[in-house]
């Protein structure tokens, strides 16, 4: 499966995602500008992304705990998600998302 990630600079990257990986892990593995400081433990919000509107239904709504973590960033939108909470699967082949400013390593 593939995911399309727009980074904070506006560059689009097509990344190979592996079934079962977290989208955050794929983005980090490819060396994009993502801090992901808690490593996927749903304990920070430094893998914050905006899911493309057409993919929102397929990705699903954030959990309560994820909503709580999103309180710790100031650039939340209606399509905000934490990329560590999205699992790669065939159903998400072609998923398109944009990294939030607050996910940057030096933010």
């Amino acid at each position: 499966m593939k995911i399309n990630v727009t980074d904070q600079a506006g560059d689009v990257h097509e990344l190979e995602g592996l079934e079962g990986w977290r989208v955050m892990e794929v983005i980090r593995d490819w060396g994009l500008n993502i801090k992901a400081e808690c490593g996927g433990a749903l304990s920070c919000a430094t893998c914050h992304c905006y899911v493309a509107p057409e993919w929102l239904d397929a990705v699903g709504a954030p959990s309560d705990e994820e909503e709580d973590m999103l309180d710790s960033v100031g650039d939340v939108k209606s399509n905000s998600r934490l990329s560590c909470q999205i699992l790669c699967s065939d159903a998400l082949d072609g998923l398109s998302l944009t990294l939030a400013p607050s996910a940057a390593k030096d933010f």
Partner: protein
């Protein structure tokens, strides 16, 4: 009044790898002092995920961040390391005799023969809201903590956030400020329910203004804000304000480490894989903060690094002394140090 402390080793960072370093150093009769920016030991394990299970600590099928921290504290207790919390090391200076002088932001000076940097992802610092130019207002009219409540008396205060810090300070500052606006992105709070109820009573009484939205822009000059601009579902909104308190929690930043003259690689410190020594002899780096080819940011890697670092530190602290490698299972000498023989 400044304090001076002289010791063998200063460990910067009291996370799991730093704590285990006290064990390995202790077995070699080396005394250490910890300095950490947090107010307790455990580092990320305590700050980010105290209740989260960890599955890859050897010998523990599952352990939480807090349990691991507690166990490490019990393990190093025989060596009585000393802890200095809620402070940051600002500078390290190498003295002529090869030892080090460290200065903290709490006006202390440490003298140590060896420095071990076990600072993980750096120091935990308040998260900045994504507002352009916010830096120029910081510490004059934008604050990330309340140190002196008097600084807020009679002011028009805007507090941003939905957690305990935001709610607690809303309740504590309300009686002394001129106006208080609490801004949060949604009508749900992560704070203690009692605080939330109390805040809602103050809103109902007209004593606190609650505004749904996110902070977008600041107006002001010479470090003094005068308006906070918000993005809300009903459109943009401007609130007169003389003080802003954003509470978005903590994030890790490399901080002063970047200025200590150590060779870096993408916000990590380059070390060798024999001693885990940095480009400055006598300064070691272990755990998530170091870099070498093949580095894995795992707690277990940090434990290994701590053991090898301790051997090298011993050679610096007790030059010429022959170190006999021993096991805790069989050495009565080590067992005596651990208080079990």
């Amino acid at each position: 009044m400044s304090t001076e402390i002289t010791t063998d080793v200063v460990v910067i960072g009291a996370g799991p790898c730093g704590l285990f370093a006290a064990f390995e150093l202790g077995l070699l009769d080396i005394k250490c002092h910890f300095i950490d920016i947090l107010d307790r030991q455990g580092g990320q394990c305590a700050e980010l995920y105290p209740e989260k299970p960890i599955y890859d600590i050897p010998g523990f099928p599952v352990v939480t961040g807090q349990q691991l921290t507690d166990n490490l504290m019990a393990q190093i207790a025989p060596f009585s390391p000393e802890f200095h919390f809620s402070r940051m090391v600002n500078s390290i200076e190498k003295l002529e005799d090869g030892s080090f002088k460290l200065q903290t932001d709490a006006d202390e000076t440490f003298f140590a023969k060896v420095v071990v940097i076990a600072a993980g992802g750096g120091s935990f610092q308040p998260k900045r809201p994504p507002v352009p130019g916010i830096e120029e207002f910081e510490n004059t009219s934008v604050f990330y903590a309340v140190r002196k409540m008097e600084d807020f008396r009679g002011q028009d205060v805007v507090i941003v956030g939905g957690g305990d810090s935001a709610l607690d300070w809303t309740l504590n500052l309300q009686p002394i400020v001129r106006t208080l606006t609490l801004v949060h992105r949604r009508d749900a709070f992560k704070a203690a329910p009692a605080s939330v109820n109390k805040m809602k009573e103050l809103v109902a009484d007209g004593k606190v203004n609650f505004q749904l939205g996110q902070i977008a822009k600041l107006d002001g000059e010479d470090g003094q804000i005068n308006h906070v601009h918000l993005t809300t579902e009903a459109g943009d909104l401007s609130i007169p304000a003389t003080r802003l308190l954003p509470f978005f929690g903590l994030t890790m930043k490399l901080g002063p480490v970047a200025d200590w003259g150590l060779e870096l690689n993408d916000n990590t410190i380059v070390v060798d894989t024999e001693k885990f020594e940095t480009s400055v002899p006598g300064i070691f780096a272990i755990g998530d903060i170091n870099y070498y080819p093949g580095k894995l940011k795992l707690i277990l890697s940090g434990f290994h690094e701590a053991a090898l670092m301790a051997q090298a530190a011993k050679a610096i602290i007790s030059p010429g002394e022959r170190v006999v490698f021993q096991y805790t299972t069989s050495s009565t000498k080590l067992q005596k140090k651990l208080g079990v023989a």
